[in-house]
Symmetry: C2
Subunit: 408 residues, 2 copies
C-alpha cells in the first residue's frame, strides 16, 4: 500500500466485538511485504452463512467451492489470503484451497466444508501451500485482533481500512452487525475484486439470511462500479452466530425481521460506498439517480452505462457540466429512452429537460457543485416509474498511474 490515502477516505468506525466471532491476523508472506496478509476468523458452532459471488465465468476455486458451501447453511471459520488471488491456477490452486480447509477443519474438529476461503491479488500464480500452512499456524496462536486490523489485512491495493456498523432491535433483543470490505480497482457489477464480510450476533436461519443478503447486495454491491471490470474472485459473505439469543429469524414476517434486513442493507450500503471511495485514482464520489425509466432494472442498466462511461467520468473529473456526454451514455445503454423526454441534471439542478437545454440554465451553481467531493447526476427518462441509484467515482490520471504501472 504505497499509494496515497484516497481523498474520499472515511475513518474506521468504532466497531464492537461480535459474540461468537474471533478474528485474528498473521503473516503468511504471500508477497514480499512487511505486513499481515492472512486473516482467520473463528465462528461459533451453529453459525449461519449466506453468500453472493462474482458472475465472472473464469472464477477462482475459492468461489466455486464457496458457492457449494453456502448451500450447507452453516460454517465455523473464514480464511482470507491477500496478495494472491489463486485464480486461473487449475488443479494446483484447488489443492491449495483444500489444504487450507483441511488444516482448519483439523484444528477446529469440524468438516472441511465448514471452512470458507477467499483469496485476492495477482491472478495465475498458485497459492503457495507452505506459506498458507505456516500462516495459519501463526494465526491459530495469535491473539484476537480488532476489526480495523482485520479490515487492513484483507486489503491489497486499498488505501484505507473499510468497516461499517449497524444495530437492530429484533423482538426486544438488540443485535449488532459489523462489516469489513476490501476493494479499490476492478470493481463492477457483479462484484469485482471485492471481498466483503458481515458478522452479526443475531440468530438468523440460513435461508432468510441469504434472502436478506441477496436483496441488499442487489441494491448496493451490484450498483457500484469503478471501471466496469469484474474480478474472478468477488465474494460477499454474511455470518450470523446467534449469540444475541433472539428468537431466530426465519422469514420476513417474523418480529424484527424487517429491522434486521434494514440493518444488513445499511451495512452493505456503507461498505459498497467505501469501495467506491477507494476507487483507483478517485477524486470524486458520484451518485447517479435515475428515475422515469420503464422499470427498475432498466433504470439500473442506464445508471450503470452512465457510471461506466469513460467520457462521463473524465468530464466530472474535469468538473465540466457536460450533460451531452450523459445523453450519449443513456443512448448507448440499450434500454428504452426517448431523446425528447429526457432530462439531465447535476446537483439537483436541471441542465436539460424534455430533450432541450433549459433556456435559463445557469452553469454557475452546477460548476460549483462539480467542484466538490460529492457529485450527483440526475437522469429522468420521462417514460415510467422505474428508479435506481448507482455509485461510481471519476476517472483520473491516478487510475492510469496505478494500473499502467501495477506489476504482477
Amino acid at each position: 500500500m504505497d499509494t496515497e490515502r484516497s481523498p474520499l477516505a472515511c475513518p474506521f468506525p468504532d466497531a464492537p466485538k461480535i459474540a461468537g466471532v474471533l478474528p485474528r491476523v498473521a503473516r503468511a508472506g504471500y508477497k514480499d511485504w512487511g505486513r499481515c496478509d492472512l486473516t482467520y476468523v473463528e465462528l461459533a458452532e451453529g453459525t449461519s452463512v449466506a453468500g453472493v459471488f462474482t458472475n465472472n465465468v473464469c472464477c477462482s476455486s475459492e468461489v466455486e467451492l464457496g458457492r457449494e458451501q453456502v448451500l450447507l447453511g452453516r460454517t465455523r471459520a473464514l480464511v482470507v489470503n491477500a496478495g494472491n488471488s489463486n485464480a486461473f491456477t487449475g488443479y494446483r490452486g484447488r489443492e491449495a484451497v483444500e489444504a487450507i480447509m483441511g488444516q482448519v477443519a483439523t484444528h477446529l474438529g469440524c468438516e472441511p466444508s465448514d471452512v470458507f476461503v477467499s483469496s485476492t491479488g495477482v491472478i495465475g500464480v498458485p497459492l503457495p501451500k507452505d506459506k498458507a500452512q505456516a500462516g495459519l499456524e501463526a494465526a491459530f496462536a495469535a491473539a484476537e485482533c480488532t476489526w480495523e486490523d482485520a479490515a487492513r489485512t484483507i486489503g491489497t491495493t486499498d488505501t484505507f481500512a473499510k468497516g461499517a456498523v449497524a444495530t437492530a432491535m429484533v423482538g426486544g433483543t438488540k443485535v449488532t452487525l459489523v462489516g469489513i470490505v476490501k476493494g479499490s480497482g476492478m470493481i463492477a457489477p457483479d462484484m469485482a475484486t471485492m471481498l466483503g464480510y458481515v458478522f452479526t450476533d443475531a440468530a438468523v436461519e440460513p435461508a432468510y439470511l441469504q434472502a436478506c443478503l441477496s436483496a441488499a447486495s442487489e441494491a448496493t454491491f451490484n450498483c457500484i462500479t469503478v471501471d466496469g471490470d469484474t474480478s474472478t474472485s468477488d465474494t460477499v459473505l454474511a455470518f450470523a452466530t446467534g449469540k444475541a439469543d433472539n428468537t431466530p429469524l426465519a422469514s420476513s414476517g417474523d418480529p424484527g425481521a424487517d429491522a434486521f434486513a434494514a440493518a444488513l442493507h445499511d451495512v452493505c450500503r456503507q461498505l459498497s460506498h467505501l469501495v467506491v471511495r477507494d476507487g483507483e485514482g478517485a477524486q470524486k464520489f458520484i451518485e447517479i439517480a435515475v428515475s422515469g425509466a420503464v422499470d427498475d432494472a432498466s433504470a439500473r442498466g442506464i445508471g450503470l452505462a452512465v457510471a461506466n462511461s469513460p467520457l462521463v467520468k473524465t468530464a466530472i473529473a474535469g468538473e465540466d457540466a457536460n450533460w451531452g456526454r450523459v445523453v450519449m451514455a443513456v443512448g448507448k445503454a440499450g434500454e428504452p429512452a426517448d431523446r425528447d423526454r429526457l432530462s439531465i441534471g447535476f446537483g439537483g439542478i436541471w441542465a436539460a429537460r424534455n430533450g432541450l437545454p433549459l433556456a435559463d440554465y445557469d452553469e454557475g451553481p452546477v460548476t460549483a457543485h462539480l467542484k466538490g467531493r460529492e457529485v450527483t447526476v440526475e437522469i429522468d427518462l420521462g417514460l415510467g416509474d422505474g428508479r435506481a441509484t448507482v455509485w461510481t467515482c471519476d476517472l483520473t490520471h491516478g487510475y492510469i498511474s496505478i494500473n499502467a504501472d501495477y506489476r504482477s
Copy 2:
C-alpha cells in the same frame, strides 16, 4: 486541433479524383477557429447511396433523416458540419438540417431528400442556420478541393487527416474507391462519433451497395473501439457515381461483384484502423484475435469485452504482459468460456494454455513485443470454430488529459 499528432498516425494516401464527385470546403465558423469546417460534396445525377448509422437511441436529426434517405437509394450531395453535432437540440436542430437540405436542393435543382447532412462536435447546441447558410454559399463558389482537404475539414479532435484508396476490376473496367473518415474519441461499436464516407466511380445498384457496405462495416467499423462510448451521430455512407461505366453491379453473382466488395471492405478496414490510430491518447495499436469461440458473434463479444477493459488497456499502456487481466475480461464478457480450456498469448507467444500458465513461459520476448507500437493479443477459447478480430488502442494519461479538459 491543438493536440499533438498521434504517434500512430499514417500519411494521407495519394488519392485520385473520382469521376462524378466534386468536393469543396468552406468556413462556416461553427466554432471560433481559423479553419474550414463545412464540407460540400456534389455528386453526379444517378449516384447510388448506402449507409450505416449509430444505434444510439438518442441520435441526431441528421441520423434520423439519413436512415430514411438511404432507402431512396439515390443522392446528389453531401454536407458535413464540423464543430457542432446538432444532437439533442430538438425541433430547432431538425429545422437547421432541413434548411441546409433545402438550400442545396435549390442550388442543384433536386429534392431536399437528395441531400445528406452530417454534423459532428458538441452536443446540445442547435446548429446556427445563418452560419450554415453563409458557409454553404461560400462552398458553392469554392474550387474543388483535395481529398486531404476534405478529410481535414470533416475532422474535430482528430490529430491527422485520414484517407484510404482501393481499386478493383469490374468486368474489365477499373473502378476506384476513395474513403475519408473522422473520429478519435467516443469510438465504439456501433460506430461512435465517427463519420466515414466512401466514394467510387463504379456503377452499383443501391441494394447491392448497401449489402456490401453493411457486411464491410460489420467486420471493420463495428469491430473497433476506443473507449466503449457510442456517439449520437455516427454515420458511414458509400456513394457510387457510375461514371466508370462498368455494367452496373446488382448482386454478388455479377462479374466483378466480389472484387468490388473486397475493395470496399479494404477501404473500410483501412479507415477503421486509422480511427483507432487516432484514439485519444493512443500510444499503441492493439489487435485482439479471438479463436475457438462457440461462434463468430461470441468471439466478437469476447474480443470487444477485452478491448474495452480499462485494466487490459492500461496494462498494455504499461507494457505489462498481464494475461490475468485478459482472463478477467474474457470471463466478464457474458459469452461461453471455460477457464480450463482458455489460452492467452501476446505477439504470437502463448503465456497460458488450457487454463494454466506455461511452465517454460519466457516473458522476455513478450515484453519486447509489448514495447512496440503494434501489439497483438491472442485468445483461444478451445470451444469451437468461432473467430473474430477487433482493434483498439491503449488507455493512457493522454486520454484523461484530453477528456477531462475538453470543454463545450
